[in-house]
Symmetry: D2
Subunit: 226 residues, 4 copies
């Protein structure tokens, strides 16, 4: 298995704090925490840094996005095959900053399975999460967009969204793995996310913008490694 649960996924977005060589450094820090604690910490670097970083770390690397195109004449696009060649084990899809068409998610999820790549599909509401569940991705992340980047964790501000998501998703696919996203920045948030029935978290600014990456990631991991 390429990943294990509970799972922490760090999305670097296009933050300057984690661009290029700094992104590599952040990925190395995630690797250090994983080695010290055994908790799975995955990273999703900038698209342009993907191979550069994936070739130099042992933690699971995700792409932030892929396009629904096959290898060939598709200038400026990102294929599943390209991220696999780069060393990624899977991809985020449908992040609130990069929403996708429903048929495109279906198509990419199916092709990713054939290529043995993991898909982590984001959703903004409980209903969209349930819809996504019907496409059978490997993981679903519920992220109310209004909380993204606020530092206010969804698990505290709107726990009922997470609960409703778990309910609706499990009805469609009882085996679905759900992550909690949006506003996550502390171990307490992670603990709450797990208690609400999800199996991990998707974080971005809470880690990327922290002054001390090692402490920030360790803080997230702490309640999981008790």
């Amino acid at each position: 298995m390429k990943i294990s649960f509970p799972l922490i996924v760090i999305n670097f977005k296009t933050y300057s704090q984690a661009s290029g060589r700094k992104g590599l450094e952040l990925a190395k820090t995630a690797e250090k925490v994983w080695k010290e604690t055994g908790i799975c910490v995955a990273v999703a670097p900038q698209l342009t840094d993907l191979m550069f970083i994936a070739q130099q770390v042992e933690v699971p690397v995700f792409s932030q996005h892929v396009d629904d195109v096959s290898p060939g004449a598709h200038t400026g696009h990102v294929t599943l095959e390209a991220i696999k060649d780069a060393g990624a084990i899977g991809t985020l899809l449908n992040h609130s900053e990069r929403r996708l068409r429903i048929d495109v998610i279906d198509s990419i999820v199916k092709r990713a399975k054939e290529l043995n790549l993991l898909t982590l599909v984001c959703a903004n509401t409980a209903e969209v999460s349930a819809a996504v569940a019907a496409l059978y991705p490997d993981m679903i992340a519920i992220e109310p967009p209004e909380l993204i980047g606020t530092g206010i964790p969804v698990s505290r501000a709107k726990p009922e969204i997470v609960t409703k998501t778990v309910d609706l998703v499990k009805k469609v696919n009882p085996e679905a793995k759900i992550l909690t996203g949006a506003g996550i920045s502390s171990g307490e948030d992670v603990e709450a996310a797990i208690k609400l029935g999800t199996v991990g978290v998707l974080v971005a600014s809470g880690v990327v913008k922290a002054r001390d990456w090692y402490s920030a990631i360790m803080d997230l991991v702490r309640p999981l490694s008790k």
Copy 2:
């Protein structure tokens, strides 16, 4: 100066033949030709390979595309700052496989100048080329989409499109640097492109799909290094 004319730009698109480590090998081959001939051969690798390749070659590296966003919360996008951090010297824009809005081209060209990055904007018609010229990018490539990937060079099939492009563009900006694209695969095509008043070529399948990259690039460069 980061580039010199005549200029050959090799677009790797998302061809499997130039993905990941194979892309690095193609970029190294371009570098070899440049060192042997002194003719500037630039490469535009897959987005996900950009930093991996740019860190390991001395030839000019272009991104295939950038989005009109600044560093920050933009999951799955490509910023000008990211390609600069990756080691690229500029970017293709508005390729026929990745067309852009007119205001977006204007915005990216302006921001690229501030960041000291080069822009090479593709255009499908003489009129669009002239429109692009009014935005003052560093280079314009005229590429009739119906000839892309055919092996039939625009310089032979439709030389009047290139001539008209040069005419219309020069009226808007007499200093504009124009490249010829679409169907280019031989030194003869490059020679024709230069005779028609352009300063180089944009090639893709003609090189990427060639059995012997070194011979294919050398063949393009030959008439320029006489």
Copy 3:
């Protein structure tokens, strides 16, 4: 109730045969068949003809598409409020020629309910149909895009897609109303669609391009009015 089942929905697309005044004539023909047979025949005219036609016929009128924006500063968009003011009772969404993001479908379906407008969401695969079902639109149309416009009915060429769609959708929402689309042109096709567990059909070229609209629609309706 604004519509009744079995239901025939005629999508005018942007066919010249049903543009402007000709579109009104086609809608009037649908109305005639409905009055003569009692079978519900709804029409989806071109966007620009929507109010012109909806104000002059009694059959249910659907929009072909709406955007996910509210009334206000949204030049060139179509709001739910606009189609309601125009006299439509609902809208098609996510047609294969106008696919939508998953969060956009969720948002429009929810807002349509508030405005008492019906939503008929198209889907290209059984899995996407099930995903759509989790968003609880009023109707779902399964339309394999490869059969659209071919005259080869999905109910004959790929009945297993319809059966699988009914299966997967009913698991998510047992009350869901499913229509069969793609390649429908005869009463036989409609009969097959009903037997496969769907409650009507979505047709376009099969009617719009017919020489005699009245006969074409009557032919579709015949097996339903036995």
Copy 4:
């Protein structure tokens, strides 16, 4: 000639104040002012109201947008042929709320000429205006998006943008007809726009949201009819 200069174009956007029957009433008011003053007042109603309104007024009617598709299987799109059948004489393109790709503008402008339809292309900067001029639309409207809907006229807040636009556009096409948009609401604004070298204005909220449409439009027209 379908229009005359100076020209006032009223964009209804998707404002509820000008939706459906209210849109017809606004178009009728524009017609009244035109008949009383002889000044050309054109209207751009909501897409879904286009034919309904165009069939009932004599003032020039523009579409707010068209897609770059021909009549046929294009559900949910707006063709040039459809707006012509509806009775429009032309279309706005590339409004800041509905930006288009540069190749799409080129294609639509060329096809509109063949169909004898007028194009009025919006631009957000002087450079984009010059780029658009190279595509030879019938009219160009300079509208700095930051002033749209503010009631602060560009002609007062940033007259240098209008002046620069006129300069750059005339270099590309000395015959170009330029309109001033963004923040226009009074006759004084219109007067300023004319003095800066443009031939009319594009207004929206300044008229649509006015309590008394007749007074609002008359106020715009007054300095032109002296």
